[in-house]
Amino acid sequence: MTFAAVNGVQLAVFIFLFGFVTVLGFVAARWRRAKDLDSLDEWGLGGRSFGSWITWFLLGGDLYTAYTFVAVPALLFGAGALGFFAVPYTIIVFPMVFLVAPRLWSVSHRHGYVTPADFIRGRFGSGSLALVIAITGIVATMPYIALQLIGIEAVLKAMGILGHWPIIIAFGVLAAYTYQSGLRAPALIAFVKDSLIYLVVIVAVIYIPTQLGGFDDIFAAADKKFSASENPGDGVLLGDAAVLGYSTLAFGSALALFLYPHSVTGVLAARSRDTIKRNMAALPVYSIMLGLLALLGYMAIAAGIEPIVTDGKPDPNTIVPLLFDDMFPAWFAGVAFGAIAIGALVPAAIMSIAAANLWTRNIYKEYLNRDATPAQEARSSKLASLVVKAGAVIVILVLDPQFSIDLQLIGGVVILQTLPAIVFGLYTRFFHARALLAGWAAGLAAGMYMLYDTPNAITGKTHFGGPQYALSNFGLDTKVAIYTGLVALLVNIVVCVLVTLALRAANQPYGDDATEPSDYVVEAGDPGVDPLRDAAAAR
């Protein structure tokens, strides 16, 4: 570790902001205080009481992660237009979720479900399907948490702080206040995170272009870089072969986003169905910020930024922090770095809570302690959240960061395989639980095979080279590629339908459905919708 190039002012501002949110994280335990935090409804879902504003900040902080802020510009920096897929992705996700999430909210509040796997357990009466959904969620979430650490690390590198100990401290602090305050901590910190990020982005996209001669010059510089590179796939516009890959990646990523357990946690913490619908209309505001941030990748090109090289490998994730360091006075660069680091803490906290809830509800309570009291559940989740974060730190310390990025890529394909059970399950009981299991397995196997079978000519990797599967593998005479997850999902759905029809023909009985059609449309205040209040009234 070295401090040679560390700027004192920058570091001081950074540490001040980090300290401030740490205090907030602990104080959050008393914010909108409940009698106690000894239940998952309180610790894991913030009392299921968040209104429109809190939900907006919470979901915004949850979905638009620090890693996104660092990695999307890095993608544009490296490959050009393809990286901009994050914008259509985050535009279309909300109209789609507008239809689905309110149904999940209603049925979950009616039956006290905390996780998506809880819903599967009730809807299909199948413990094994619920277990598979829970494990899939945990596996897909873990590398996502590790990526947040990469976001923090990129900032630290740009500040000149090398070595792993600051990450360990940051996550130790995060683990402590998440343990104490549960979902209230990231909800409260999200206000600070987003205010800072909005401030930094607005300043950056107004100030930096004026320093670089405007967008004309910025795009000219990007053009020059891409036409000089040997990679045929880059450029400020998409090549013909990349068009389908671009739209399928945006569409597939949008389908996957709300299947992630941490998104579901954010949705279920909302006070009402109406709160969610309003938020689906308001959340795209974050996409404006994301689109502007993405362009920082081109600004970095125009500013002549070169990524920091560690262990002989350039780290493109460092370009945004380096650009800030280059362009801003030290104190404001410190604010920007603080914003990114805090931006990593919020989603990391929510993700670890979501993974911990899956563990508690669908593994611990289901298989280890069937009669767990709410207090025992909360305790189990708190401990699990520590384990999850420790795991993420170890992954970053021990494994090549590239491995986490690969894992996250795989994670998107993996989580997408839970779509038939969760999304179709919200609308219909047509599918048989065993068919959904078979479809999940087939989709997963197909997805893994295709990812393994994808080389990357630019990085020289022979396997797991990217999320785009060449259609030439199916015998088509074309250079066009398509998002792997979407192909795997198609396989999954076809198997679900065929196996369901076969099981129906064989008169195989369905599991019990604990839900009723009306459960999917109830609103807060309707009878039986508020398990917390009903429980309190019964005491």
Partner: protein, 76 residues
């Protein structure tokens, strides 16, 4: 939405007339997923190629569409 019943007027789910409006939600998908529509450099806006500002314009349009559907399908 096959299983929506009409219960009382005040807190029943939206009826078929309202749910028809939810088809509007397809508009943002059509606008952004048909890439050949906008994969061009011109017309530029403030030096931004069409590809970039066109997609950014869809953010407020998508918000507008979702707000319209939300208002129409909201329970009264």
């Amino acid at each position: 939405m096959s299983d929506q019943r009409n219960t009382s007027k005040r807190d029943g789910p939206p009826g078929p007339r309202e749910t028809r409006w939810t088809w509007l939600l397809l508009i943002p998908l059509l606008g952004t997923l048909i890439v050949p529509l906008y994969n061009t450099r011109d017309p530029e806006l403030f030096g931004l190629p069409f590809f970039y500002w066109y997609q950014m314009v869809w953010i407020p349009v998508s918000v507008l569409v979702t707000v319209v559907v939300y208002r129409i399908t909201r329970r009264r």
